[in-house]
């Protein structure tokens, strides 16, 4: 006599299994209990017949498949309908929002006409504040130093200026090393004749503010000297000839040809300007040499101070 009843499935293996949770009393599962652990089937699926099917009738099987697919097609249609409804509702929302904004404007106008100030919309106030912040950040470059946090670290921009006009900008990227609070220089666009590495080595680990301040001064004075030289050449192309200059513009020599007032001839003399301190705007050393000797110096110095005034006031 065959024993009919629950079929008992045992794990057939000698492998070690992971610990089962405690609420599972036994390892034996029947077919029905097995179905309970599967994820919930969607409702529209017809009941899955037991496998293997009872009959091997092909037509019946095909009918089964057709029914399945019909069910799926209906489900798809329903989904599409839902999506359309969603779209329609969204556009309706947009429409209503526009109407609301238009009406709000109208109300504000009417109130304005009547002379009553209306309350500002909190959202608008926030937007205005954000806009203001953004503009302020953009304008910050006029202070000379501005920065921004970037994914790689801090990106600082040094904007140089001379006598009210903004000139070149130089950029630095600093990264923080570890948690010690020390910065190190990652990338930069500073020209090589500025002693950037020396300053970074000496000042950056200990005192980043001082480093930035001194670097700013170096750059500003360099750009200022360069600008002064360029203006001098522009304003007096005939009278002044630059004999030599160097990259930092701190050792310049000129030749001046000034028409003398009394006679029609030119007076020539040479001057050498030396800026010992790279952060100084005034030269430390001025040597003027004339070909005339003593006699010409007095007259020439007067003209020289004219040029110097130009330097000061340009």
């Amino acid at each position: 006599m065959k024993r009919k009843g629950k079929r008992i499935f045992h794990w057939v293996s000698s492998q070690k299994f992971p610990d089962f949770p405690k609420f599972l009393p036994s390892l034996t599962l029947s077919m029905q209990e097995f179905f309970k652990f599967l994820p919930e089937f969607p409702n529209f699926l017809p009941k899955i017949p037991r496998f293997p099917p009872k009959t091997l009738n092909v037509l019946a099987h095909l009918e089964l498949l057709e029914a399945q697919h019909r069910g799926w097609a209906e489900a798809q249609e329903r989904q599409e309908q839902l999506q359309e409804r969603e779209k329609f509702l969204k556009s309706r929302i947009q429409e209503l929002r526009q109407r609301r904004d238009a009406l709000r404007e109208k109300v504000r106008q009417e109130l304005g006409n009547l002379g009553i100030a209306s309350e500002p919309d909190p959202r608008e106030v926030l937007e205005w504040k954000i806009q203001k912040c953004r503009e302020l950040l953009r304008l910050f470059r006029l202070t000379g130093i501005s920065g921004k946090l970037s994914p790689h670290g801090i990106s600082l921009s040094l904007h140089t200026s001379f006598e009210g006009s903004l000139l070149d900008s130089f950029h630095l990227e600093l990264q923080e090393r570890g948690d010690s609070g020390r910065f190190w220089l990652c990338r930069h666009s500073v020209p090589p004749f500025i002693p950037l590495e020396r300053l970074a080595r000496e000042l950056l680990p200990r005192n980043p503010r001082q480093f930035l301040g001194i670097l700013c001064r170096h750059l500003n004075t360099f750009v200022g000297r360069r600008e002064q030289l360029r203006k001098l050449q522009e304003e007096f192309p005939d009278s002044v000839q630059v004999l030599s200059q160097n990259s930092l513009c701190n050792f310049l020599s000129f030749r001046y040809r000034i028409p003398a007032e009394s006679s029609g001839e030119f007076q020539e003399f040479r001057a050498q300007l030396r800026y010992r301190d790279p952060t100084g705007t005034r030269p430390d050393d001025v040597t003027a040499v004339t070909g005339d000797g003593e006699r010409g110096i007095v007259g020439i110095l007067g003209v020289f101070w004219e040029f110097w005034d130009f330097f000061e006031n340009s």
């Binding site: 953004r134 950040l137 953009r138 910050f140 470059r141 501005s146 921004k148 970037s150 990106s155 921009s157 950029h171 990227e173 990338r187 930069h188 666009s189 500073v190 020209p191 090589p192 004749f193 002693p195 020396r198 030599s244 200059q245 160097n246 990259s247 930092l248 701190n250 050792f251 030396r274 800026y275 010992r276």
Partner: protein, 401 residues
């Protein structure tokens, strides 16, 4: 972009404009002069002759004359007048007498005649050569050298002092050299050195050029074919500019301005700021032009464009011709495949070359040929200022010895 996988060194052909004209002094040439004596003397012989006077009354060395003639022949015909004016050795009146619409041969002969009248020496000829090479600097291959500071801060740079020390150092080692200096407005000092030996006169056709910007630690050298004089040149540079040491950076190119841009950090880098940068959108105008075209992957393209801009920056790139990677890494394969019996590093040389390498790398991602972001090996070329890399096994770091 082509791949080169030779196991030997790859040879880079440098465009020396002078190679066509370089005649070593051993070759005998017969130069028919207009006003020469009936004897047609070869060049080599002129070393042993005293400079003899022409009916015009000028005294000029034959080698100098030949050198000036060759230099003028190198110049394109439209530019000869401009270069002679820059030279400033011939007066305006003399330049007016020249006819620039004839054959270059005849122009050069006339120029040489005028130089004879003014009795040009080798210095003036060298100056003309510097002018030609300054305008056609992209014909030579330049390599960058970096000098290390000696420690004390120099107050200012005196060019007269520099010249004196440089000349002194070279002359103390080698008597037969021609050294010429020329300063340009961008603070560049061009130095031309023609080398000779203790027994031979300097070879004017194979000079070395050095470009130095004052108060920077970088020197750009275009060495002549005679490489044995390079150590002396480097030593003279260190002595003259008060530095301690000099080493060659792995950066070479034909375009001198691009090398300067890379090394002086003048190229466009991408720094984050709040100020609005000129947004070179992604051709927004072209998009709006034809509304019938719909771009399905607009967001992908914008992402690629943004990543590209982060690595390369917005502006034009410096012009390099090649990037060379020497791989010294182990071949990683499935151990079962067992490609190599011996466990030694797989040596491989990968060379990217292009008329404008960085622009082509920049356009790889937008054209879809590579994934954005590009490999840091390619994008670090300008940042690290090198285009010769050695990639070792350990941590895949690209530091060369």
């Amino acid at each position: 972009m082509h791949f080169n996988l030779p196991l030997s060194k790859s040879v880079v052909v440098s465009h020396l404009g002078l190679t066509l004209m370089s005649a070593s002094t051993e070759v005998q040439l017969f130069i028919p002069w207009k006003g020469a004596s009936p004897l047609n003397l070869p060049v080599a012989w002129s070393y042993f002759l005293q400079p003899f006077s022409f009916p015009g009354g000028s005294i000029m060395d034959e080698t100098v004359a030949e050198y000036i003639r060759r230099t003028v022949l190198k110049m394109p015909r439209d530019e000869i007048k401009m270069m002679l004016q820059k030279w400033g050795f011939l007066s305006e009146a003399q330049l007016q007498t020249l006819n620039f619409h004839q054959q270059k041969d005849n122009i050069s002969q006339e120029v040489v005649q005028l130089c004879e009248e003014n009795s040009a020496g080798i210095k003036q000829a060298a100056a003309l050569d510097i002018i030609y090479n300054h305008i056609y600097q992209n014909k030579r291959m330049w390599s960058v050298y970096q000098m290390k500071k000696s420690g004390e801060e120099e107050e200012y740079f005196d060019i007269a002092d520099f010249k004196k020390k440089f000349k002194g150092r070279i002359r103390s080692a080698l008597k037969n050299v021609t050294i010429t200096f020329k300063e340009y407005e961008d603070n560049a000092i061009w130095i031309r050195v023609a080398w000779g030996t203790p027994h031979k006169k300097p070879n004017q056709y194979k000079p070395s050029y050095v470009v130095y910007h004052s108060q920077t630690p970088y020197v750009f050298i275009s060495a002549s074919v005679l490489k044995s004089n390079l150590p002396l040149l480097c030593q003279a540079l260190i002595v003259a500019s008060n530095y301690r040491d000099i080493r060659e950076m792995e950066l070479r190119s034909h375009s001198l301005n691009s090398l300067k841009d890379i090394v002086f950090k003048r190229y466009s880098q991408n720094f984050q700021t709040y100020s609005p940068k000129p947004v070179q959108g992604w051709n927004v105008e072209a998009e709006n032009a034809d509304r019938r075209i719909v771009h399905e992957n607009r967001s992908v393209k914008e992402r690629i464009h943004r990543l590209n801009q982060e690595s390369f920056g917005c502006g034009p790139q410096p012009k390099l011709e090649f990037a060379q990677y020497r791989l010294d890494t182990m071949f990683k394969s499935d151990p079962k495949m067992d490609v190599l019996d011996k466990k030694e590093p797989f040596r491989c040389l990968v060379k990217f070359s292009s008329p404008h390498l960085l622009e082509s790398l920049k356009s790889l991602a937008p054209l879809g040929m590579a994934d954005a972001p590009l490999s840091p090996l390619l994008t670090c070329i300008t940042h690290k200022a090198r285009n010769y890399f050695k990639i070792r096994e350990k941590k895949e770091s690209f530091v060369s010895p």
